[in-house]
Amino acid sequence: MKIQLDQTSDAELLRLMLAGKRAAFAQLYQRWQAPVYRFALRLSGSVELAEDVTQDVFLTLMRDGAQYSGSGSFAAYLLTIARHSVLRRLQRERRFVTLETNGESEDTPLPDGLPDDAVDEAGPLANLTRSEMTEAVRQAVQGLPLHYREVVLLCHMQELSYTEAAEVIGCEIGTVCSRLYRARVLLAKSLAGWKPEAAAAPIKLKPARYAI
């Protein structure tokens, strides 16, 4: 009996894959390679590392896929593997980088507000072209401290719920909300001074170390 794999659930595909069905693995890979790769790419900032991490994730799935209980989110399961792989590799390579102004912890008091010109009626982003804006946001995200960046990537880019994000990170939901709020404040702060002509100027980065 031929199974419609594109409509099959992740858990069922995983079961078929573990039974040796090549098509099931191909379908799972097709379905999840992009989210895993993007997450690894944005979390690490390195194409090579993202490729290695993507490979790690699917190799782990082949080897230890049976450990997935099926009760939780499959996305959270894969991204947990990806996150561990990224952090392990970053620790090994010591490639922690962040924006000069963002080396702050969760206890650092946040600024009360943005400069006056940043909250005008149209909003600061209204003046930006779409591609320039997204490039500025990308750089701002890349400059966030790791523990803020991962929350932003999980909740915004991967569209996980706070619960799923908490599962991936291994923390409380309240911590996720708190970090997300602070991350947005920092992002807004970075974007507030951004002007289209300033897009060409690279954001100054400096190496920093964070305890993970």
Partner: protein
């Protein structure tokens, strides 16, 4: 709504994920009246808007194609490695195929040939030197020749069991006397004797064969081995001691 209450809702409000409509209305009303909270909401909305735009743009990013090919190849490899554990009949078939390989077949044939040849060579000397031949070869001596023509003697005889090996032959040689030829021509070839018959006969029979005997003991029974040739004629005799 006051500022601390607004702070708790601001993330959900900015992402438009606030479930309660009334809470949302209260929060927006507070942001409109409080400059500080209004600015913070604007901050959050601006960041959320930028992130949404970025997420939409990055939807097109895919993992490189070579990754997928490599992973599929790895999956195939692992499946092949795992196959013998899943299907126990596979290795048996594999072994049978291996055994049928021409190299194996050649080797096995060679071994069987050597073993067979060894067995044949080992058996051949035993056949050639049967107890009868040994006895003839070693004990035939020229005897006084009698010209008796009545060599054909019919008598009830018990065919002895098949001659045993050397040990038996030596034992027989001890029990029986020298081989006496019953014909004028001494058999030159030991192979001429086809059968050896152990029998008990009256001594008078020996006279019929031309052997010298005391008349007084004609009725005495004696044991002897009579050697017959291929044509059924008694050719030689060996008397029991």
């Amino acid at each position: 709504m006051n500022c601390p209450e607004f702070d708790k809702l601001i993330v959900s409000l900015a992402c438009d994920t606030l479930a309660s409509g009334s809470l949302r209305a209260q929060a927006l009303a507070h942001a409109a009246t409080c400059a500080r909270c209004g600015a913070r909401l604007a901050q959050q909305q601006m960041a959320a808007e930028g992130l949404d735009a970025l997420a939409a743009q990055e939807q097109s990013i895919q993992a490189p194609a070579h990754l997928g090919a490599a992973l599929l190849a790895e999956f195939e490899r692992q499946r092949m490695l795992a196959a013998p554990q899943d299907a126990p009949s596979e290795p048996i078939r594999f072994r049978l195929v291996s055994l049928l390989n021409w190299r194996w077949a050649t080797a096995i044939t060679a071994v069987l040939f050597v073993v067979g040849l060894t067995a044949v060579l080992w058996r051949q000397p035993v056949r050639q030197t049967s107890p009868v031949q040994e006895e003839i070869a070693t004990t035939v001596t020229p005897l006084p020749v009698n010209t008796s023509t009545n060599n054909e003697t019919k008598m009830v005889a018990k065919i002895s069991p098949k001659p045993k090996r050397k040990k038996t032959a030596r034992h027989n040689a001890d029990e029986y006397g020298a081989l006496i030829s019953l014909l004028p021509i001494v058999p030159s070839e030991a192979e001429e004797f086809q059968q050896v018959v152990s029998m008990q006969i009256p001594r008078s029979t020996l006279r019929l064969w031309g052997l010298p005997l005391d008349e007084e003991s004609d009725n005495e029974q004696i044991r002897a081995k009579v050697y017959f040739s291929e044509d059924g004629v008694a050719r030689a005799i060996r008397l029991h001691n």
